[in-house]
Each structure stands twice: as C-alpha cells, then as structure tokens.
C-alpha cells in the first residue's frame, strides 16, 4: 500500500489539530468512537439497516457520523440528528461487535448532542414529557386517570398504543411491603416503573405475588422513573437526576436485590454504576426472570397454556445479553412449550419512544414482528417490556389475529393460581 493516494482519498483518522464539533459535555468520547473498526459485522443485525439497506441507517454509519463530528469534518446539524433519531437504540449491533463497541453509550452521547440543537418547540415537548413528567409519578397517575375518557378521542395511531387503563387499578397502589408466607429468604425491592405502574399495574401485582410466593419479602420504596427514556432521548442530565433519586431510595430500602420487571428499566438501572457512580445499586439489579433463574423458584404444578411464543425485548437480549434465563425458567413450567419467534433478535419497533417519533419505520418493524408471532401459531406471546407489549398488541390487532400478549410474570402468576386451585 502506498501513501501516494489519489486526490480526494486519505487514510482514516483525525488530522493533527482537528477541533471536534461537539457541543456538550455528554458527547461520545473519542475512545469509544475509535473502538469501531468499520468491519460491518453489525449491519445485518441492525433493524433499520435491514429495512433500508442504507449505510446512514446503520450502526457503522452512525458511528462514522460521530467520528466525522469528533474529527471536525461535520457538525451536529439536522442531518446528524436525523441519523441518530432513526436509530431504535435496540443495541442488537452490540452483540455482533467483536470490538465490543459500547454503542448504547455512544448513542446516548450523540442523542445528548442532538438535544442541544433541536428546535426549541421539539425540545420543550421532550423536556416536559421526559424530564419533568416522568420524574413525577403522581403526575403520570393523575394524567392516566383521564385516559379512559380521552382515549376514544385520540388519533387512531396513538389510541392503539395506549392501553385501556382501569380506574379501579389506579386507585389501588401496590403495597409498600408484602410478606411471604412463612420464613423470608431475603428482601427484594421492586421497581414499579413510571408508565408501567400506571398503565400496567396488574403486571406489577403479578410480579409481587410471584416473588412473595417464592419466599421473598417484597418492598416498594418510594421511587421515580428509572431514567431510560430520558437518557435515550438525549437528556442525560435529567436521567442522572432520576437515577440519583432512585439510587438513594433503593439504597434506603436495604434490600438484598432490586428486581425489575421491565427490560428497558432493568437495563438502565444496571448502568447506574457508570452513569452516576452507584455500582452498589447497579450490581444488585436483576431482571425478573434472570432473578428467578439465578435464585431458583417453585415449580408450578402446571401451565395455564400449552404453548407460548417468547419475545426477547432488545433491552434484555442485547443490552443485558440475557437469552437463556427466560427459556430456563419457562422450561421448568410443566406442560409449557416455549416457541421461538422467527428473527427473534429483531426489534419490534417500539424502542422506547421511537414509535411516536419515527412512525413509518416503527410500523414496518411492528408488522414484521406481529407476522412472525402469528406464524408461531401460539395463542399467547410473552413480552417482558411494556413498550414491546404495546407494540406487539397493536401489530397483532392490525393483523386481526387473536393472540394474547402477557408478561412472563402474569403467566407464572396464573400458573401458581391454577396450582393453588387445583
């Protein structure tokens, strides 16, 4: 190879004296950017690249865009923002990356940059929604109380994403302490979540029952949103604030474990070590099925259904690399067959708020996922993340197939109740 390259071609790398075009302190670091060699092994794992075949919609392309900014060859502008916003943040690329590029961290940094240049109105909506509303659970609950009345008037696309919320449920918070029957194996603190707690409270109840049934004392400390949605949309400051609040609250609860039943939230809380230097909290965080698998659990006598399709939320499969645990746990339920979904490692398109901000791409992914779920022939699909559950429900409804979307905790809870009855 020669250094006599033709005009317009150069070797990769920053020129001496290059000034980075970053605007904030949260920008992706040069070190993280440099860890990508550009081999392209991530490409087929990226849902948006698969849909478009376009380098600009790929992890390698997005990192190259970040590199261009860090080397002072490009600015954080509308195009850069568009490329970053198109990313689902599913982190499927991380699994495929031999250089172990911390893509999720790079993306959060890039999103923080993007936030800095968003039009004021867009920023206001996001700040109000993500930084303030999510941080105040009472407000979510209060707003959710209006949902049954507002829902019929929502535009159809939004309506199908908003579940029917029961006012009766909203009025009955999860008890702060639930004691197991007999001797307690230890204490677990549960993250009830922000949206999850208002919109999917039955899942939280099922989670608490399952844990108590397995001999754990379950506590629900006063808490706020885990900060995941906020971080992924560029408000790292607000995300750190929420994380700090939660870390303090959970530390006070003095539990042996912190169990989270939403994959997006468990992934985020496991990052508290890095985000706010609270490894003491982060190291105790477990996703629900991961926890049951690690600690062992009481085998139910039977299963309420014979076959279930198992959906792997990206934030479980990719962000936390948890694949075996759900299969191991469900495999121990007698009479239950777990069916794999084709292209199971592909994002369903929910991806936090992607659904709202990038509807076209999200819908294509939703339809693919729903079709693959339907193809399993199962009448129940399990999804351990509220965003995925909403998305898959909407996709299945559009397809007109009758498949119930359950959280794994709900399935286990039903299995236990069934054995109690039987």
């Amino acid at each position: 190879m020669s250094s006599k390259l033709p005009a317009g071609v150069r070797f990769l790398g920053a020129e001496p004296g290059a000034v980075a075009g970053w605007l904030t302190h949260d920008a992706p670091t040069d070190r993280d950017i440099a860890s990508c060699v550009g081999c392209g092994l991530c490409l087929p794992h990226c849902p948006t690249y698969r849909l478009t075949g376009d380098e600009t919609a790929s992890p390698r392309g997005r990192i190259a865009a970040m590199r261009a900014v860090s080397e002072g060859r490009a600015a954080v502008d509308a195009t850069f923002s568009r490329y970053m916003d198109l990313c689902l943040g599913c982190r499927a690329c991380e699994d495929a990356c031999p250089s172990l590029v911390p893509y999720g961290r790079l993306l959060d940094g890039a999103k923080a940059e993007v936030m800095a240049v968003r039009a004021r109105r867009a920023r206001l909506v996001r700040v109000l929604g993500l930084d303030i509303l999510l941080d105040h659970k009472w407000a979510i609950t209060a707003l959710s109380a209006y949902l049954p009345f507002v829902r019929p008037f929502l535009p159809p696309r939004l309506r199908r994403l908003v579940p029917r919320v029961s006012l009766r449920e909203l009025a009955r918070p999860i008890p702060a302490v639930t004691l197991p029957k007999g001797h307690a194996r230890g204490t677990v603190a549960v993250l009830t979540g922000c949206i999850q707690d208002s919109w999917f409270r039955p899942i939280n109840r099922a989670t608490v029952r399952v844990l108590a049934r397995n001999g754990w004392k379950v506590v629900v400390p006063p808490q706020t949103c885990c900060g995941a949605l906020t971080a992924h949309y560029g408000s790292l400051g607000a995300a750190r604030r929420m994380a700090a609040k939660n870390a303090a609250a959970f530390a006070l609860a003095d539990a042996d474990w912190i169990v989270v039943n939403s994959a997006g939230c468990s992934a985020q809380m496991k990052e508290y070590g890095e985000l706010i230097d609270r490894p003491d909290v982060a190291s105790r965080v477990r996703d629900l099925l991961e926890f049951l698998d690690e600690q062992g659990f009481e085998q139910p006598a039977g299963s309420p259904v014979a076959r279930v399709a198992l959906h792997d939320p990206c934030h479980l499969l990719h962000a936390q690399r948890i694949f075996a645990a759900p299969r191991s746990v469900l495999g121990q339920v007698p009479g239950l067959e777990v069916v794999e979904i084709a292209d199971g490692d592909r994002c369903c398109g929910s991806a936090g708020l992607y659904n709202l901000f990038e509807p076209a791409g999200a819908d294509r992914l939703m339809r693919q996922k729903a079709a693959n779920v339907a193809a399993t022939g199962c009448h129940v699909v399990l999804a351990g993340n509220p965003g995925c559950a909403v998305q898959i429900t909407a996709g299945l409804a559009e397809l007109g197939v009758d498949v119930e979307v359950l959280h794994p905790a709900e399935l286990l809870d039903r299995a236990y109740r069934r054995s109690a009855r039987g």
């Binding site: 071609v9 990769l12 990508c36 060699v37 190259a64 850069f80 031999p98």
Partner: protein, 482 residues
C-alpha cells in the same frame, strides 16, 4: 452537473433513494478498509431497471460509477474517488430461484452470503465461499472481489462457485455472462468479471453453484508454544496428503481478543492456535483426525482439542471470523495486509515479518489462512503519533516485497482496490499490466466503472488500450479520466 444528475436520479428512484447530503456522502466514502474517499452522489436502486437508469444517468452527466454492496471490502475497492456516483446494491436482495436438482440458485447481488446459506441449509446444500464477513457481505460483493474464506482451502474461492453473472455495463446495457450449464460458448469472461472489483460493470444477478453439506465435520484446535511450531504443522499436514476443509492460524495477540468476544475456549496462553476443520464422511474424518493429531504431537502441540458438536464449532469459527473486527481492542489504528506465499514457506514468511517488526519497532499480529499460505499481518500503530503512518506503510511494503521474493502474491482474497494497486508493478510487468488494462477496456472503453481501482490510471507502456478509441470519454469526465 451534479444537481442535474440528482434530479434525474430522483425522478427514477424517488428522493429517498438518492443521497446528496455531505454527511451521507462522507459515510459512503469508505468501506471496511482504512481509506476514506469522497463521492458526489449515492443512489440506492431497488431493481435492475433502476440500476440501468443510474448507470445511464451517470454516463450522461459525466460521473464515474462506484458499485457498492455492504461495504465490507478491505482493499478500498468501493472507496469512491471524487466525481463519482456510488450505486448501492443492498436493496436488490431477492433470492430469485433455488434449483436443487441443478445445484444452482439465482440471487440478486444484495443477498447476504449467510442469508443464502441459511435458506439452503434445510435442503442439505450450501454456497461454499465463506469470507470472514459472510454474515454481512453480499453475494455481489463476494463475486466482485472473488472472496475467499477459511474453507476455500478445500472448496475453492468464489470463482469456483459461479455459473453466470448478469452485469449492467458502462453503456447501460444489460449482459449475461456464462450460463446455467457446465460449459458455455465464447470466451469464459466470468473469470474476468469475478474479482473485477466493480471495474467492468454493476452486478445485478448471479447464478451460484450449490454444494452439498458434508455429512461429518470435525474441528481440531491445536495450541503451540511458538508460531513456528504451528506453521510447521500446517506445512506437514498439506504435505502428508491430508485434505482439510480449512486450516487457520492465529497468534496469541489475536487469540486473546477473539476469546474475549466469542468465549469459545481458545487457549489464551498459547503463542499460536491452529484450527483445522475436517469434513466428509465419518470414516475419512476420523482417519484424518488421527493423522493430524499425530503430526501435531510430534511438533510439540501443547493443546489438542476436538470439537465435533456444532455449537462449539460455531463458537470457534465465530471467534476466528471476528478477529479482524476485534483488533481495535489492541491498538487504535492498524493496517492489514493480505499477502500470499507458497504454503511450504510459511515459517519463512512469518520469520520475515518478524524481522520487519523488530527492525521497525512495530507490533504485528497474525491471522493466517495457513493452508493456503495466505497471511494477514496486522500492523498496529497509533495514528496520532507523528510519522507513524508512513512508518507502517514502509514496513508493509517490506513485507509485501519479502513475500513476492518467495514466489508469492500481493493479495490472496481481499483484492487490489485502491490500497494495493501501487504494488501491482512489483508483481507484474508493464506488458502484463497493459493487457489487464486492455481487458478492462474491453468491458468499459471509456473507463467510467470504478476508475482508479486495481490498476492505476496513469502510465501505459504499450500504445493505446484496445477499443479505447471506440467510445470517447465524456467531456465533463474530470479527474478520473486518463
């Protein structure tokens, strides 16, 4: 001119499939090599007719054409030069037809190598070429680079597995070369097209030959206390008349990083690891395994481990195939070479590289397709230290020259592209290069297809290219024209 080309393209493809934003152009300025070029426009057509339209528009508007698949090439074959339109074939991704009875399949160029393999596996068939990038590289790209891979030791390179190729030529016409049968009439131009790195046309369909999956497969993992011991075993295995499907060698630095990723149980304290895959019928596989083990023992192998269960085998290969991508975990920058030596001279070649590394004070790690004598020395450096790049380039040239002196080649499988074209005169005479240029001109007299790749555009020793007068280059052709 460019604005006009963009309007023309948008009219045919729609605005979403034509990229002109500076940041987009920058992202398409590179493939998986260490080079970054620049282009004027990017088009992402969805079918052959759109490819034809793109090529015609480029010609009319005086733009060169740079075909691109997934951009996983390692030699800068799809690194665009100024004045070009990049035509991306990733949306031509249909598997058109699979005919097991004729052992062939027709595919569009954007089909991923591994996707095709997955479709074929239930039929007991496969498409044999397995470049390390198989998970992400396209069949079109495999054809354009004549991709190899570990298993080409037994199964041959891409050229051995292609029946026919459909090309859009520089003049916008569509031509098919080769046929579905074992022989076709006329000159066999498939050889020219396969490995032509986009310089003769844009591939729009490929008829691939299918191979039966072997009944039994076994991978032996051997660990050694020195790289030379490892290389010695490789030469001996070949000389003994054994016919492994693949023989791969990695040194300690590489083994460590791939083990971190793949968790395949590689011995991280061995100085070198050799993977030998044996396939065929069970009896022959067992016999060859015993023979290999015996050779390995007599060469002081410290680890001899067999992996016949598919999951373990898959992890070992996953590790091997991720080696290139994992390098940034050792050094921020690196240059990878792709030299070949006669396989009996592997030990010598490794020693020559060692001398260069010592003389130049560089760290050079090895991934070797050892059975083929194909070395991939990775020279590590940090671009931020002044003069580092020049230093590395000089070391690289020394390695290339040393391998050529042993009767080797400047590229085994990555191709020449931009990165190695200046090495071509080290291997070929001026007459050879002129003839190569003539062959290219036979396809593309006006040189609008990926100019500047494989052959440098300057200097011919021997008269004008054949057919060069047949079509005049457009006036606005600019810098890419000779």
């Amino acid at each position: 001119m460019i604005a006009a080309a963009r309007r023309d393209l948008e009219e045919i493809l729609g605005s979403g499939a034509v990229l002109s934003d500076p940041l987009a152009l920058r992202l398409y300025g590179r493939d998986a090599s260490m080079l970054e070029g620049s282009c004027e426009l990017v088009a992402i057509p969805s079918n052959r007719e759109q490819v034809v339209a793109c090529v015609r528009i480029a010609r009319r508007r005086g733009l060169a054409v740079v075909p691109r698949g997934a951009g996983t090439g390692l030699a800068g074959g799809s690194t665009p030069l100024p004045g070009s339109l990049v035509i991306v074939t990733t949306r031509l991704q249909r598997i058109l037809e699979i005919r097991p009875e004729d052992r062939l399949a027709w595919v569009e160029p954007g089909v991923l190598n591994l996707d095709l393999k997955r479709r074929l596996a239930p039929l007991g068939l496969t498409f044999a070429p397995d470049p390390a990038s198989e998970a992400s590289s396209t069949i079109g790209g495999n054809v354009a680079t004549n991709a190899g891979g570990p298993h080409c030791l037994a199964y041959g390179v891409t050229a051995n597995h292609i029946f026919a190729v459909e090309l859009v030529l520089a003049d916008g016409t569509v031509q098919s070369f080769g046929g579905e049968g074992p022989e076709a009439g006329g000159y066999d131009l498939r050889g020219v097209i396969i490995g032509s790195e986009g310089t003769v046309g844009v591939i729009t369909a490929v008829c691939v030959r299918l191979t039966a999956l072997p009944e039994a497969v076994q991978v032996l993992m051997l660990g050694f206390a020195t790289v030379d011991d490892a290389a010695g075993v490789v030469s001996e295995v070949i000389a003994a008349g054994l016919t492994p499907a693949a023989i791969e060698l990695m040194d300690r630095a590489i083994v460590r990083v791939v083990e971190d990723f793949a968790h395949a149980g590689y011995p991280v304290d061995a100085e070198a690891v050799v993977l030998i895959e044996l396939d065929g019928l069970q009896g022959g596989v067992d016999r060859q395994r015993q023979a290999v083990e015996q050779i390995a023992r007599s060469h002081g192998a410290t680890v001899i481990q067999a992996a016949s269960d598919p999951a373990h085998r898959a992890r070992l290969w996953k590790g091997r195939k991720s080696a290139h991508g994992a390098i940034t975990r050792i050094a921020p920058d690196f240059l990878q070479y792709d030299v070949v030596v006669p396989r009996t001279r592997l030990v010598e070649a490794l020693a020559a590289v060692r001398v260069v590394a010592r003389d130049e004070g560089l760290i050079i790690a090895h991934i070797v397709h050892a059975g083929d004598g194909n070395l991939h020395p990775l020279i590590m450096y940090d671009r931020r230290s002044p003069g580092a790049l020049e230093h590395v380039l000089a070391a690289g040239e020394r390695i290339v020259r040393a391998c050529l002196e042993m009767g080797g080649s400047i590229s085994g499988e990555h191709g020449i592209g931009l990165e190695k074209r200046d090495f071509m005169p080290l291997m070929f005479s001026a007459a050879d290069l002129d003839l190569n240029d003539d062959v290219r001109a036979a396809f593309d007299p006006v040189r609008t297809m990926n100019p500047g790749k494989i052959l440098s555009d300057v200097g011919r020793s021997h008269g004008p290219a054949a057919g060069h007068a047949a079509g005049a280059a457009p006036d606005e052709a600019g810098s890419w024209r000779r």
